[in-house]
């Protein structure tokens, strides 16, 4: 839920509650006031009536007198009736006929009588209704206006926050520029922007120094490796070496070779990450693929692969060595994981490049294919960096790469 909606909802719920509670209270207060007014009228009327009735001597006279007084009812009570205090209450007669009634006992010509005096409340009731309704409407309109104004102001006030949020969303640590946060006069937000700015700068600086460290480390490792390798090569020329010594040297030599290749691959990855390939040229991928394929001939023949290719001219803006590495890795990957006598298919169109090979279903989650050090076969000598490098190059060139397995065919698709 968005912040503005959240506060608005709270406001609306509170307003409805206030309305629901205040309107009945308002109604009852008004009603009470009017009833009090009516009651005092009834009391003075009672005093007048009682004094009037004091002059009456028999039942007939009562009837004659009350005939002309609509608001008075007099009835005879049994003579032994105990006196009762006055009582006043609301009464509804028929439909929508509201009255306030006062009931009292009076002794007329020596006999107890029940005396009912009425005062019509119809007009008062209507008045109360009108007042309450108009009041409620007024309140509702006021609340809606308040809500709208509040919402508008909040939106304006929070604008810098949303700006910052949108910029952070689009921020990538890899980009070379700093966050450009807009200036705001609101202290909290300007403080927030300051902190965010400081933090991203720090992260970026750390990230860059880490990348540089990785690159420098990989670079520095090359020389010792070259020394080890060359010394080994000199050593194995010694004819006095025993079989066992030679075999141990062989293992050291192989391992050093692996280490060196691993290091070179990592160096390449960091170099791509550090944007060190800036010699963008216009290249025809078709030509590159056609030049590349013959170099794999030995491996293709050895696996007895059928090569199918459908290539159209497709020009890209890329660094040439990177484009070559991408193609080499894609093709060698398709050869390496191919079955004996399988097919290798390369399709290049205006919009995509696909490299497919025969093979059994993947045994591991396909999303992990582009992860570093992910190997289809843990025992293989492969470094598990080939596709990670392809992915990096694709990211760099802003291509999308996608893996698919369908009907015993593995396909890697590069979408331009």
């Amino acid at each position: 839920m968005r912040l503005l909606n959240r506060t608005a909802t709270a406001y609306i719920i509170a307003s409805i509650l206030v309305l629901l509670v205040s309107i009945p209270i308002f109604y009852f207060v008004l009603h009470h006031l009017f009833a009090k007014q009516a009651d005092s009228t009834l009391q003075s009327r009672k005093e007048f009536v009682v004094s009037k009735l004091g002059e009456i001597n028999n039942e007939l006279e009562i009837k004659n007198w009350t005939r002309f007084e609509d608001d008075i009812e007099v009835s005879r009570l049994p003579s032994d009736t105990a006196p009762l205090p006055d009582s006043i209450y609301d009464r509804i007669m028929g439909k929508d006929d509201y009255f306030r009634e006062l009931v009292t006992q009076a002794t007329i010509y020596g006999n107890p009588h029940r005396l009912v005096i009425r005062s019509s409340m119809l007009e008062n009731h209507e008045l109360i209704e009108t007042i309450v309704i108009s009041q409620a409407l007024l309140l509702a309109v006021l609340l809606i206006c308040l809500l709208l104004i509040n919402r508008r102001i909040s939106r304006q006030v929070w604008q810098p926050f949303y700006d910052t949020l949108a910029k952070l969303k689009n921020y990538s640590i890899n980009q070379q520029t700093h966050l450009q946060l807009s200036h705001t006069s609101i202290e909290e937000f300007s403080e927030l922007n300051e902190v965010v700015d400081k933090m991203t700068r720090k992260i970026q600086a750390d990230f860059i120094s880490l990348k540089q460290f990785t690159e420098n480390a990989s670079h520095e490792i090359q020389t010792p490796l070259a020394i080890i390798q060359s010394k080994l090569e000199v050593m194995i020329q010694d004819e006095e070496l025993s079989r066992e010594q030679m075999q141990n040297l062989q293992i050291i030599y192989e391992t050093t070779g692996r280490l060196s290749k691993l290091n070179q691959a990592l160096l390449l990855l960091t170099k791509i990450e550090n944007n060190q390939f800036v010699h963008i040229e216009r290249l025809n991928l078709k030509e590159l693929i056609e030049a590349k394929l013959p170099l794999f001939e030995d491996f293709i023949t050895a696996k007895n692969l059928t090569v199918k290719s459908a290539l159209t001219d497709r020009w890209v803006q890329m660094d040439a060595p990177l484009a070559r590495v991408m193609l080499t890795n894609l093709i060698s990957n398709a050869i390496k994981h191919n079955t004996h006598g399988g097919t290798l298919e390369i399709i290049l169109t205006e919009t995509y490049l696909t490299v497919s090979n025969s093979g059994t279903a993947p045994t591991q989650p396909t999303e992990a294919f582009f992860d570093r050090f992910n190997k289809a076969n843990p025992n293989s000598d492969s470094l598990g960096l080939g596709l990670a490098i392809v992915k990096k190059i694709c990211d760099y060139a802003q291509f999308k790469i996608h893996y698919d397995y369908h009907g015993n065919i593995h396909t890697l698709r590069v979408q331009f």
Partner: protein, 227 residues
């Protein structure tokens, strides 16, 4: 043949000198830019192996110096930088070849031989190993004056073997020589065996002795010694 090695890493230089001296070259070593520059001015070399990153200057300047002196020296650039920039730059200003660290000594040796052959003999010198003759301009192979048909890879292999005769060649260095960067990405070591088997068969059929010896799974050695 006199070589100049310009390399600041002492141990690496030792290995290179050791290997190349065994090949019959006279090897001189310069560890920094100044020393190398002096040697270039004072002596004549058939081939210079120049590291690009040097204390006191860049190897590229040494290449330019050699160019200005117009010596017959062939120039091979050695660099730890796997960067194409250096390679293009080096070749543009007149280096003949480029090799990146870490490299195989056998590969460096083969490159030097091929370079000297190209420069000193304009590619006209035949490569001869006993009864085997390879005409390097036409790439025709004959055994006892009888033509031998080899595939491109087999020929590469034979040239590499003869350039490094009596040396143990590791499988890795052979793979890299034959397939370059593509050796890394594929199980190329298995293919070497096939190529060597075929080459050996063809040579023996033509009456050669079995020159290719396997060395304890480490690699192969091309030698006329029979033991």
């Amino acid at each position: 043949m006199k070589l100049l090695l310009v390399e600041d890493e002492k141990h690496l230089a030792e290995s290179v000198i050791n290997y190349l001296t065994h090949e019959g070259y006279i090897c001189e070593w310069a560890a920094d830019f100044k020393k190398a520059s002096e040697k270039i001015q004072l002596f004549l070399y058939d081939c210079a192996l120049i590291d690009i990153t040097l204390p006191g200057g860049t190897g590229l300047n040494l290449v330019q110096q050699l160019q200005r002196l117009d010596t017959a020296a062939g120039i091979i650039i050695i660099s730890a930088k796997n960067s194409l920039d250096d390679k293009i730059m080096g070749l543009e200003i007149g280096a003949d070849d480029y090799i990146t660290k870490p490299f195989h000594l056998s590969e460096l040796n083969a490159r030097i031989k091929s370079l000297i052959r190209r420069r000193a003999f304009h590619g006209k010198q035949d490569v001869v190993f006993r009864e085997i003759t390879i005409q390097t301009d036409s790439l025709e192979v004959s055994v006892n004056q009888e033509a031998l048909v080899l595939t491109k890879k087999e020929l590469d292999l034979l040239l590499y073997f003869i350039a490094n005769q009596n040396r143990v060649l590791t499988k890795e260095s052979i793979a890299e020589h034959l397939w370059g960067e593509h050796a890394d990405s594929l199980d190329s070591l298995d293919f070497i065996y096939t190529h060597i088997k075929n080459l050996r068969k063809k040579l023996i059929e033509k009456g050669c002795s079995d020159y290719i010896k396997s060395v304890y799974g480490m690699g192969y050695k091309f030698t006329e010694q029979t033991k």
